[in-house]
């Protein structure tokens, strides 16, 4: 009976694996803003308390077994039966200690819950995120209608400022989760949920849909990019521009093919492509990934995705379009101009 040494061995194995894979992109044991910091502390606190409880009880079981085990052979029937002490003190002392620890945890939980309930100051940026199979549409809201625009899967926020997130579920339930910045909030059809995020460091923060939503739930990623305020404004202004006009013969052909084959679902503002059921591609090249965060945004992946989305992401709502090699080349070239 030596379960504690086994647990220790397991822990050692885990510890050895850690340096090899530092800083997991979706980890949440380190916070990057006022929404996540108090939760990270609470998580570590409860983790430490939980580990302590496991160690103590394991020690009690192992040491008790080793110290008190019946010695000498003869089988169980020879071992005498005695009542010994009532042992009720074990329960009352153990329960007393447990209740204090539980009460403190409960109070700490409530304090943190209150702290992250609302942003410390009013949010000046509101992003309406519509989660759908299997990507996130992001609409930046503004009282000035000319400053409203739509993008997908990669959202920029100003660093050091709280940002309000309005969540809409377009089809089934999804969940908005950017672990380094905030815990989860579900996007549920028929209701609008609100949450907020704030990053106190610039950088790219990974996110992921975290409610099972169908065959491509595994590939429904999100990136939050925290920019300095000026750069964020610049980015917003840039997103408002219509799509670049094609210059070369190939990209002109590409635009035509794009409008014809892709325009029913996708938009490129300023062209005849005005579909709204799939990601807005007006500034596709400003984004780092394709296909719900599944592929890096480069020319090879783009062409491959156009050629056969169903083999790359089985079940995706983008159908195989059976484009010719020439069409793929021209559309890819055109998409590359959408800076």
């Amino acid at each position: 009976m030596n379960s504690s040494s086994l647990s220790l061995a397991c822990a050692a194995i885990l510890a050895l694996t850690l340096p090899a894979t530092a800083a997991p992109p979706l980890g949440y044991l380190r916070g990057f803003g006022p929404k996540s910091d108090p939760v990270v502390q609470l998580t570590w606190g409860l983790l430490a308390l939980s580990t302590l409880v496991v160690v103590v009880v394991t020690a009690l079981v192992v040491i008790g077994t080793l110290l008190r085990r019946a010695r000498g052979g003869g089988g169980i029937a020879r071992a005498p039966v005695e009542r010994g002490g009532s042992g009720l003190r074990w329960i009352s002392v153990g329960l007393g200690i447990s209740c204090v620890a539980l009460l403190l945890s409960l109070v700490w939980t409530m304090v943190v819950l209150a702290a992250v309930n609302a942003p410390p100051r009013p949010a000046r940026v509101t992003i309406e995120i519509t989660a759908q199979q299997w990507w996130f549409k992001a609409r930046y809201l503004s009282p000035d209608p000319s400053r409203v625009f739509t993008t997908a899967d990669e959202i920029h926020i100003p660093v050091g400022e709280p940002v309000r997130i309005r969540l809409i579920g377009a089809d089934v339930i999804h969940s908005f989760w950017v672990p380094a910045l905030s815990g989860k909030m579900d996007a549920i059809p028929g209701q609008i949920n609100e949450t907020w995020i704030e990053a106190d460091h610039t950088g790219r923060y990974g996110g992921e849909c975290s409610e099972y939503c169908g065959v491509q739930h595994a590939h429904m990623g999100l990136v939050v990019v925290a920019d300095p305020a000026a750069q964020f404004q610049q980015w917003w202004d840039g997103q408002l521009r219509p799509a670049n006009s094609p210059q070369s013969a190939q990209t002109v052909a590409g635009e035509r093919d794009f409008e014809f084959h892709c325009g029913a679902c996708h938009s490129a503002r300023g062209t005849a492509a005005g579909g709204t059921v799939a990601p807005d591609l007006t500034h596709l090249m400003s984004r780092g990934t394709l296909a719900g965060g599944m592929l890096a945004n480069n020319i090879g992946n783009l062409a491959g995705w156009l050629a056969n989305p169903q083999s790359l992401k089985p079940g995706t709502n983008m159908p195989n379009l059976y484009l010719s090699g020439q069409e793929i080349a021209s559309v890819t070239a055109y998409l590359q101009t959408l800076q």
């Binding site: 086994l6 530092a22 008190r68 169980i76």
Partner: protein, 648 residues
């Protein structure tokens, strides 16, 4: 004159060989396939339950291994996304509904009458019905999977993904109708347990002398009666939405996706306690045998069993912390979910104190039970962490929760169950399981389990969402997943060793005798395997430990299973009063009957008809079922109990 049979005063005798022979003739199930199909013997039904549940455990385990192969490293393509989704959904359905609860029902079915000093469950035919429906519903639920349309929305089957527009195949229909069907089995089984414990304990077995496992199953049964209707309703509404265009969950017509979640978790969370409380009871009853002393704190442990269940009705929203409910509401459920740790802590301290204040004899069963304490605490503290709302917003839907729920279900259900097999297998079969192989079995399972699931906590803390069919490289999850896959195969090897041990010991195990572990409760007073009538005379109980009274010397009174009431005018057992267990009336018990099986066949036709929209089949099945019920309830003179019992 049959009518006054009910009020006759039975003779108080010592059982003789002649009486036993006579009782054997009265109670024995006829041999052959007919006997097997019509048997109402709780021991046969109990063993059938356990064997069937283990068959489902093996199926669910194979599904898990296939999934672990897919997740052995990043970007694997062993399975298509749809195959993976059906596998994890079917795995959850199998383990939670077709293994975890039925295996405990099996043990309780087998052990209750023996522990309680009775000859059968209160409603033997209902007992057979609950088993047959369990088998039929299990096959029904698996039929979809077998033809490639198994459930694919996880075991909790959230709408709208489970609704027809997003899930047009028959996948969810198999699951929905199967769950409604299985609910009948659970409900009649629970009703049977409740009446059994209220009515058929041996004289003298007051409620404060019942084994803790009886408390556990009693509590679980009461909970099931209350919560199964919620889930049956939810699945019925879903099926109506899918097949007849009703709008209960249809957002475009004002339906509510969260209605599903509330109905499901009002059932789902109490169900989780229902699949662990009887297993905790097994530990509370059997661990003391190996510690050579009575359980520390019988009363607190019994009361905390009930308290867990009562609190368990009020924590379902902790599955819904991220759904946008108001934080004030969440904080109450957070509080309740933290408080529910308290009664569990009572059990943990009672078990550790039992080890410290006893003289543990280290057998395989002891290893399973004592390691369960540690696994229980790990599953408990990870549950406690998810009870804290802000922390749960991060933990929920990650592998941390996968680790947590497997610590709960494997740690608090499978480990005690395997321990219980080592303890009670000799009672069921007359042969002991091999202890040397048992040690191998334990350590393989324990190490495999730890390797598979301890790293999963970290996988979750490093952000891996559950229910993804593959994961990319460079997320910091590769090695952890590899270790989990290796661990899963080691765990499977451990379960395989158990099967080897069972098969080998059935043929050549050491003979056990009536009481191989020197246990304290009534089941150890009868031969192994017990005769068809269990007890030749109805035992009389004066303490919690009838077979240890001489050694504990706690009073001058002695329980006896040698002298007692002789009930041999046909199949009879004794009814006793609710709290004190005083003799109250003679119960006439039914004999073999095909009605439960026939009713199951009819109901199966009914449900298959509904599934396929073959209304004639549904009507025919319904008619067969109705006819079976009429036949079942047709008055029989031998079972007549017209006279009222005298109450003082």
């Amino acid at each position: 004159m049959e009518d006054i049979e009910f009020e006759r005063i039975p003779r108080y005798v010592s059982a003789t060989a002649a009486y036993r022979r006579g009782l054997g003739v009265i109670w024995e199930t006829p041999p052959g396939i007919g006997g097997w199909l019509s048997s109402v013997d709780h021991k046969k039904i109990g063993i059938c339950y356990i064997v069937t549940a283990f068959a489902f455990l093996i199926l669910g385990g194979i599904e898990a291994l296939v999934m672990r192969l897919q997740l052995i490293g990043p970007d694997r393509h062993l399975l298509t996304p749809e195959q993976y989704d059906q596998l994890f959904s079917t795995h959850g359905m199998t383990m939670i509904f077709l293994y975890a609860m039925p295996v405990l029902s099996g043990f309780s079915n087998y052990l209750w009458p023996l522990m309680l000093g009775s000859r059968d469950m209160a409603f033997p035919r209902l007992n057979a019905l609950s088993y047959w429906i369990y088998v039929a519903a299990g096959l029904f639920m698996y039929a979809g999977f077998a033809i490639g349309v198994g459930p694919n929305d996880g075991w909790f089957n959230y709408v709208p993904y489970a609704s027809r527009p997003y899930n047009p195949g028959m996948n969810i229909d198999f699951y929905a109708l199967g769950m409604i069907y299985l609910g009948i089995s659970t409900t009649v089984g629970a009703a049977n347990f409740l009446v059994t414990v209220m009515r058929t304990r041996a004289p003298g077995m007051s409620v404060n002398r019942m084994p803790i496992m009886v408390w556990g199953t009693l509590t679980a049964s009461a909970a099931n009666i209350l919560v199964v209707p919620a889930v049956s309703l939810a699945f019925f509404l879903l099926w109506m939405d899918r097949q007849f265009g009703t709008h209960f969950f249809d957002v475009s017509a004002g339906g509510q996706p969260l209605l599903w979640q509330h109905l499901f978790w009002m059932f789902g969370h109490p169900w989780v306690y229902a699949v662990v409380l009887p297993a905790m009871g097994m530990v509370s009853d059997a661990l003391p045998i190996f510690c050579r002393r009575p359980l520390v704190g019988y009363t607190p442990v019994a009361l905390s069993t009930v308290a867990t269940m009562i609190l368990g009705f009020g924590v379902w929203v902790h599955h819904m912390f991220a759904t946008g409910l108001p934080n004030l509401a969440l904080s109450f459920f957070s509080g309740a979910s933290i408080i529910i740790t308290v009664p569990s802590a009572v059990a943990v301290f009672a078990w550790t104190a039992t080890i410290w204040l006893g003289r543990p004899v280290i057998t395989t069963a002891f290893l399973f039970f004592s390691s369960m304490i540690v696994l229980f605490v790990i599953g408990g503290v990870s549950g406690f962490m998810t009870a804290s709302v802000p922390v749960d917003w991060q933990l929920t839907q990650t592998y941390f929760v996968v680790a947590h729920l497997h610590y709960v279900l494997i740690g608090i259900n499978l480990f005690p169950v395997v321990g219980a097999i080592y303890v009670w297998f000799p009672k069921m079969t007359s042969r002991l399981l091999d202890e040397r192989l048992g040690q191998w079995n334990f350590w393989t399972m324990f190490i495999g389990f730890k390797l598979a699931f301890l790293p999963m906590h970290l996988t979750g803390l490093r952000g891996m969402p559950r229910r993804i069919y593959t994961f990319p490289d460079h997320m910091g999850w590769n090695i952890l997943n590899l270790v989990s896959t290796v661990g899963a195969f080691v765990l499977a090897a451990g379960v395989l060793l158990l099967l080897v041990n069972v098969i080998q010991s059935l043929r050549s195990g050491r003979l056990a005798g009536a009481n191989p572990w020197d246990g304290a409760t009534l089941e150890w007073s009868v031969p192994s395997p017990p005769p068809s009538y269990n007890f030749a005379v109805i035992p009389t109980v004066v303490s919690r430990h009838p077979l240890w009274e001489d050694r504990l010397q706690e009073s001058a009174d002695r329980s006896t299973a040698i002298e007692g009431m002789l009930l041999d005018h046909g199949r009879e057992t004794l009814a006793t009063t609710l709290l004190d267990g005083d003799a109250d009336a003679i119960l006439k018990m039914p004999g073999e009957s095909y009605a439960p099986l026939l009713l199951t066949v009819g109901l199966s036709g009914f449900f298959v008809g509904l599934l396929l929209h073959q209304w004639w089949l549904a009507a025919f099945g319904g008619a067969v079922a109705t006819a079976s019920i009429v036949g079942w309830l047709w008055p029989e003179r031998a079972l007549a109990q017209i006279a009222q019992p005298r109450h003082v």
